[in-house]
Every structure is written in C-alpha cells, then in structure tokens.
C-alpha cells in the first residue's frame, strides 16, 4: 500500500480545484449519490440532447479528495461524449477500479487515460473504492433517466 499511489498529483489537483463544480445551465437530467456509511454526497447534472449526447455536465458534492477528484475527472472526460461512448468509458473505468483492468478505449487520448488511471490507486485501499466509484454509478442513473 503506497500513499503516494493514492494521493497522486492529478487527484490532489482535482480534489482541491474540482472542475465543472455547480449546477450547469439548462440541465435536463440529474441524480444524487450518497454513501450512508461515511456521508459523502454527489449530485450530477447533465444537459442531454434527444439522443442523450452529453452537451454539458457538472456536479456538486462534498466528500474526501478521492470522491471529489473522481467526480471532477468524470465531468471533464465525459462532457461532449455521446451516450454509448459515455457508457463505454464508465464501464471501462469501473472495470479498472474493481477488476484492475487497464483503460483500453481508443477514443480516449493518452492524457485522459493517465487521468483515469490516477484513480486506480484505490484498489489497494478497499475501504476507499466506493469513494472513487460513487460519481460513476450516479452518472449511470443520470443517463438512464427517461
């Protein structure tokens, strides 16, 4: 278990200065995530077009550096993506965290892959896995909403 693997520069940066924080204008779908054991909260807002392409994406929330960074990275990477790609990236990310698989999607550039990989340090800290995955599960609810 290496602390510096968990608290990488990218995570500290996103944790301290979360991107896309707040309610995005004209959001059409939103969902809340909550971890009742620790009290972490996230609320994701998305502006979707009729084909569920993500035109705009933002979040509000409170929690640890990992959960804030994860939500921030999510909004950064998925903004502008269409429904299928957003789902594929989400699945790929959850596989990375839970089953230690690598990020394989060609549609992501190297920077984006590195950013997502930075959250994989949680796999050595089982109690913190939920911190990294909560925003992504919440996004799935946002996209599935009718």
């Amino acid at each position: 278990m290496e602390l510096k693997e968990l608290y990488q520069e990218i995570i500290l940066d996103h944790g301290k200065n979360p991107r896309n924080f707040g309610k995005c204008k004209d959001f059409t779908s939103d969902a809340k995530g909550h971890n009742p054991l620790c009290g972490d909260k996230v609320h994701i807002y998305a502006q979707l077009d009729k084909n569920k392409k993500i035109l705009d994406l933002s979040f509000e929330g409170e929690g640890c550096a990992i959960s804030l960074a994860s939500a921030s990275i999510l909004t950064d990477i998925l903004k502008g993506k269409d429904f299928n790609l957003a789902k594929a990236i989400t699945d790929n990310f959850l596989n990375l965290i839970k089953e230690n698989k690598s990020i394989t999607l060609n549609s992501l550039n190297e920077d984006q892959k590195t950013t997502l990989m930075s959250l994989s340090g949680v796999k050595d800290f089982p109690m913190r896995v939920k911190c990294a995955t909560m925003a992504w599960h919440t996004l799935s609810s946002v996209l599935e909403k009718k």
Binding site: M1, L3, K4, L6, Y7, L12, K16, L37, C38, G39, D40, K41, E62, G63, C64, A65, I66, F125, M127, R128, C131
Partner: protein, 405 residues
C-alpha cells in the same frame, strides 16, 4: 500496574500495522480485547460449553452457573439493587430497542412526548423514531449550546405533562462531553419522568452506581468495555421490568405455553428470549475483573492525562480545529483539518499505524447542526499513552505534507 503492563494484557499490540507499532485511538468505536477475555472464551468452549438455563446435565449446570455469576458481577460492577435488573442483550442498541418497544408499548400513546438531545447517537434516536411512527408519539430534541454541551435548562423547557421518557447519552461519542446526569435525573424524578441513559461511552470511563444515579434504564456496550462483541447489558429498575411486556418471543422466556394463552417468565428471563451469548457473557466477567484490578479511578485518571495532553497539543497547533469544547469531558478528541477531508486524514494516519475513525460517527443530527458532514475522531482507552498522542500529531502533520498544505 503501569500502562506498559496494562498494554501487555492486549495481544493485538504485538502486531504491526503497515510495519508500524499499532497506535489504537478508536476505542470509542470498539475497544481491543485483553488476553484474559480471549482465553476465557476458548476455555469455555473447550471445557464448559453447553446451553444455559435449560438442561440438567453437568455441563449445563456449570455453564448456567458461570453465566449467572457474570450477572452477579455486573450487578456489583454497576451497583444495581437486584440481580434481576441486569438483562443481557446483543448490544447497547438492542437495549434501547428493547425499552423503546416494551416500555413504549405499555406506557407511550398518541401525542405522548419523548425527549432526546441533539447529541444522541443514531441508536438512541432511530428506535424512538419507530415508536413515534407506531404510536403517533412526538420526539423533542433538547438543544445543545455552542460548546456542544447538553443544557439542563433546554431539557427543562421541553418537559410537559405529556413527557413519558427522557433518553439521553452519558458521554457524547463525538465531543466526549459528560452529561450532568444527576441533575437531569433529579429534575425528571421530581416530575416522575423515567430516564434512559445511553451509557455506551460512559461505562468504559466513569464509575457507575445505579442506586446513586437513580436512572430508570442504563445501557452498556460490552465490546467497548474490553469485552466480547455481540453483547450488551440493559439495566432497568425492577419496578419497570416487572410491568413491561416481553420484547422478543421465543424459548427460555416463558412460564407456560398453551394453545390459547401464554404466560411469561419474570425478569431477566422474560427479556432473554432464545439461546443467549454464553461464551461472551462468561468471558465478559474477565473484562470486569481486569477493570476492577486496575481500578476505574486509575483508568480515568490516566485517560484524562492523555486527553488533556492531546487537547493542549492540538490547541497549540493552528491547523487543527477541535470539534466541540465541553468543559467536562472524557476520552474523545474530534477534529478537522482545513483542506483535508476526515477520510483522507484517516487513510494517511493508518499508514503510520494510527487507527482513528472518520465520518459522522452515527450522529448526523449533530453534524448537520455544526455544518460538517464528517469529522475525524481519536478516542482514548485504558491502554493509551502520551506517546500515542505524539505519534498522532506527527501523523497529522504528515497529512499536510501529503496534501501539500
């Protein structure tokens, strides 16, 4: 007995956590177990095991005797008047659920009022919430002051002729504040209102005397008292227990069962349905013996020394913010660090072998009041030293380095 000798009784301290000696500051969550308790459980299973209170064979007689001897020890430990006032439960939570269900069933009706405080642990709110829904009763929360202390005047304000019970913590698991129980109980008894005390955090730190204190119910969590998990104690005044209906139905708690009617045993059997925790109860006697051997006076003297030392160090450290400032307190230091969430603090501390708890500590009403979703909590047990506090403070400094603050 000095602290090193006391620590030697606890095998877990031989273990390294992340290659560091264990600094255990999470006893308010659950305390570590002395070898005598661990050994007593094995010995019981290897030599004395049988169910209690049922069969007549030799093992059953031995097991029943050991079980009931522990009840006598508990009676003495908390100075209850009668041994029938000691009920074994699966924890303090079950103790409160038992009273809310059984006392609530008989004595609380529509419009009746239950007084709690804003400091209560969820286990001293949620069971009353169920009762509120079931009986259309009313729950009133006594406000705490800016130091997060319970105010007797705030309780006084809430009392009406509809108040049927006051349920209140002995020591807050977030602030460590000690409730002025005697005054509250005297006030309540002058108005003939029974008081339940959540003694989960009180029992490990303060000498208990039920007859002097005069409360109607007192719940204890044995795993926070250096005893086995899955065991608690409910003390109840005999006059209530005699009148209250059973909580759960099952074997062991009956007098006579007919197709048309059932009559029940007397307390404590009436409230101990089904097969009880036998090894746990028997082994809990060793917790009491250890505490009495060291002496609760000496335990709290040492804990208070460590607590004061910790609070002084934290006050001198500008980056650490203390949560709550009760004048009269025990064992608990809750804190926050600017720019670092308590979960991150707890993970970084763990890397140095320091075990604390982070979160809302099952007190969301309190956390909402102070506008924080989580706090970090270091809690002191009989095995902690000032050196543990030094290691804690160093590890907190490390948090700032990791976060580049």
């Amino acid at each position: 007995m000095n602290i090193d000798q006391i620590k030697n009784n606890f095998p877990i301290f031989k273990k390294k956590i992340n290659n560091k000696p264990l600094v255990y500051l999470d006893s308010a969550n659950s305390s570590q177990k002395p070898k005598s308790v661990i050994d007593r459980m094995s010995y019981f299973y290897e030599n004395e095991f049988s169910n209690v209170g049922r069969s007549v064979h030799s093992l059953a007689v031995t097991a029943t005797n050991r079980f009931e001897e522990t009840r006598d020890l508990v009676k003495k430990f908390i100075n209850a008047k009668h041994r029938e006032e000691i009920i074994f439960t699966k924890g303090a939570t079950e103790g409160i659920n038992l009273v809310a269900n059984s006392f609530g069933e008989k004595y609380i009706n529509e419009g009746d009022e239950i007084i709690l405080t804003e400091l209560e642990h969820h286990s001293n709110y949620v069971p009353w919430h169920y009762l509120r829904n079931k009986k259309k009763a009313v729950i009133k929360f006594a406000k705490i002051n800016e130091n997060l202390e319970i105010q007797i005047d705030e309780i006084k304000k809430l009392i009406t002729n509809k108040t049927k019970i006051i349920a209140i913590t002995h020591i807050s698991n977030v602030t460590g504040g000690i409730t002025p129980l005697k005054e509250i109980i005297d006030l309540a008894s002058s108005k003939k209102i029974p008081v339940l005390v959540d003694g989960t955090q009180g029992a490990p730190h303060l000498k208990l005397d039920m007859q002097k204190l005069g409360c109607d119910f007192y719940v204890i969590s044995c795993h926070k008292l250096y005893g086995p998990n899955g065991l608690g104690i409910l003390y109840g005044k005999k006059k209530w227990l005699d009148e209250m209906p059973p909580y759960q139905g099952g074997g062991g708690m009956i007098d006579e069962v007919k197709k048309e009617n059932i009559t029940f045993a007397e307390s404590p059997t009436k409230f101990e349905a089904g097969t009880m925790q036998t090894a746990e109860v028997v082994a809990f006697s060793e917790s009491i013996k250890l505490i009495e051997k060291i002496g609760l006076d000496k335990i709290s003297e040492n804990e208070n020394d460590v607590l004061r030392y910790g609070i002084d160090k934290i006050r001198k450290n500008n980056s650490i913010n203390l949560v709550g400032d009760p004048k009269n307190k025990a064992s608990v230091i809750s804190f926050t660090l600017k720019g670092i969430h308590p979960h991150d603090i707890a993970t970084i501390l763990d890397d140095d072998g320091v075990a604390i708890r982070a979160g809302h500590h099952c007190c969301q009403i309190l956390h909402e009041k102070i506008g924080m979703s989580a706090t970090a909590r270091a809690s002191i047990g009989l095995y902690n030293t000032k050196e543990d506090i030094d290691i804690l403070i160093n590890a907190i400094e490390k948090c700032k380095k990791v976060f580049k603050i």
